[in-house]
Symmetry: C2
Subunit: 383 residues, 2 copies
């Protein structure tokens, strides 16, 4: 087990009708808030009205910035930064999923920084930020309690992440708000949360028995409840277990004491930067390919994954490992996710370029340190 | 799944030699600290010197209060409160196990309160407190990241708990510091952390699949690593997994979305108040008796406990439930813990009195609401 520091301060407010507490919670962070959201589906659902009412009740003044899209754009972040500075905003309320939250985090960091906000995506650590609160509407990215944000610079195209002191101050999680999430988006979210656990589970750190078991338990719960919500989108308890799992999958807890990997996320980020595909779908394609490429690094860990997550019981570790990778892929298929690049009409034209950007000046990942050529082969395996 | 609010702000600093960061961390909380500890074993081990050196390096002034005993006493808490007020202390550093931390929390609350600190143990919620930091030396109570404290009023005798805004600001967890914990104390600690999970696991809340699995995983990890440390007290990884498990068992995470029980803790508190026995040993005696008394409330939950924690696979839920209770008792026995009151020369003289105090004016517990007569019967079953 590795040494670690861990602190997740995000206050979780979980359950039915909790979105009505948004105003009261924001009021603890400031008197003027940027209300940040996506395409406007929150207006159709009535959520926007409830949030606005809650803000008014709490005497919180607000300005708005909508228009966040999946793979959130730097241009909108810059617009948000300007708006916060101009309007002298105290804090940000992100109402939406991971894209809206990531966008809000980047705006929060940029609003108290004199330089170009993209600096934070080129290696600068975020030390301070406007406080961010969240009303979550999609179980997926775990951004509501994570210390990371991922933004796409359209001028690259380049999708990059930044870390730092940006965990939201509070996150309101009402599972009912996810009833209306489409099947596709629900499936993308399930792949995303599983991927967040995979990045931590596949490690070279030895003797991490406790977090192994927590990862395995969370994965089994996601598989079980994931299956339920695909056929019963309004099953409260399944949505609730899945929603809490999505937060715990990425608030850092499951990686404590472990060296994490994160190669597959890097490999996927180039895919969604170049082709603007949903992050979850990209992960569903990349992860099984990555697993096939790296399985020999630690057959016994993959066999444990087979036994504890997929309940595969064979005599030979190698067979179990291979079957577990197949099972993972089959599960993604069962959810209706793509599991090959060709299904999205992505062929090998840009594999070399994407692999080079992904590897950057060095290597990617920790479980196996991947060079540009390795990443190219993983794209090939994902074809 | 129930609605919940959850926030655990404690910064965890985990790993080898981390105690040397105590000064630097305390320095963020104040310039003058009360150094609070137990019997002086930290002086023999050299830990005291390292802490003092770390405080000096960080230019933190300190005053000392030692002498905390298991089942920490109100009299020492009051002494600490006076000392903090007199010396104008900014914060408290607890170096020790659960008793020292609980004592520090109570002192912290009392130091910024004008009334009698015992008020907080008679129902008053702790709203503010001096900030507390921890260097943990025993894996057991989980007080290093919990919002609770338990103090014994010698004038009762009465052992009572209080809750509130008292989670430590940081907790330094170096598993090496637990190498020297005796077999008895190690075993008490294992029973304590398992009990903290049992109090959350046995619930009437339905569809709490995710936290069920997290509880089960943590329990299995405790059983596995508990066995290892009993024969290999200096096995770093086993001590490390156990130490992190003890914190996670009681930082509130495993109870999210669940109605918790806490009857067994109440029943045990009277035992250790009347007979001054170690809390962990008391729990090892009480919990199997409580389980036998309440098993019929939800046979299928006990069968799940059997299957997922003890890997018992029988055809009939009732048999599995009974076997799981036996297994729990056997495991405590294997650790060298007492599993009956008679082993500690406790007979039925005070059962009626203890049961009455425990039930208070109402009932105790949530899984089954226990009246005074029920509690008496549980003491009888534990004979």
């Amino acid at each position: 087990m590795e040494n670690f520091e861990y602190q997740c301060q995000t206050k979780i407010i979980f359950g039915k009708e909790t979105e009505n507490q948004a105003g009261e919670e924001i009021n603890k962070l400031g008197k003027k808030v940027l209300l940040h959201y996506g395409s406007g589906s929150i207006k159709k659902s009535g959520l926007y009205d409830r949030i606005v009412e809650s803000l008014k009740k709490a005497n919180v003044e607000f300005v708005e910035l909508s228009g966040v899209v999946p793979n959130p754009r730097l241009s909108l972040v810059k617009e948000g930064v300007e708006l916060c500075k101009k309007e002298d905003v105290d804090c940000i309320l992100a109402v939406g999923g991971g894209s809206v939250i990531d966008s809000a985090k980047a705006i929060g960091a940029g609003a108290v920084y004199d330089g170009n906000v993209w600096d934070f995506f080129e290696g600068k650590i975020i030390e301070k930020s406007l406080p961010v609160g969240v009303v979550l509407t999609i179980s997926a990215a775990g951004s509501e309690a994570s210390n990371a944000t991922v933004i796409t610079n359209e001028d690259g195209p380049r999708k990059a992440s930044s870390h730092g002191n940006i965990r939201p101050k509070f996150a309101i999680l009402n599972p009912e708000l996810t009833y209306s999430v489409s099947k596709d988006q629900t499936a993308n979210g399930i792949a995303d949360m599983m991927a967040h656990i995979f990045e931590r589970y596949f490690t070279n750190s030895k003797s991490v028995d406790l977090t192994d078991k927590l990862c395995e338990g969370a994965l089994r719960s996601i598989v079980k409840n994931g299956r339920i919500v695909m056929s019963e989108p309004e099953n409260y308890d399944a949505r609730a277990n899945l929603m809490w799992a999505s937060t715990l999958a990425h608030n850092g807890l499951l990686g404590t004491g472990r060296e994490e990997d994160w190669a597959s996320h890097g490999i996927e980020h180039q895919l969604s930067a170049f082709y603007d595909i949903p992050h979850g779908a990209g992960l569903a394609i990349i992860f099984p390919a990555w697993m096939r490429y790296v399985v020999k690094q630690d057959i016994s860990r993959f066999a444990q994954f087979a036994r504890e997550v997929w309940k595969i019981d064979e005599c030979c570790d190698e067979d179990m490992a291979i079957q577990a990778i197949e099972k993972t892929k089959e599960f993604f298929k069962e959810l209706g996710l793509p599991t090959s690049l060709s299904e999205l009409n992505i062929y090998n034209e840009k594999f070399v370029e994407m692999a080079k950007i992904c590897a950057g000046s060095g290597r990617r990942g920790n479980f196996v340190r991947l060079k540009s050529e390795d990443i190219e082969r993983i794209y090939e395996l994902a074809k």
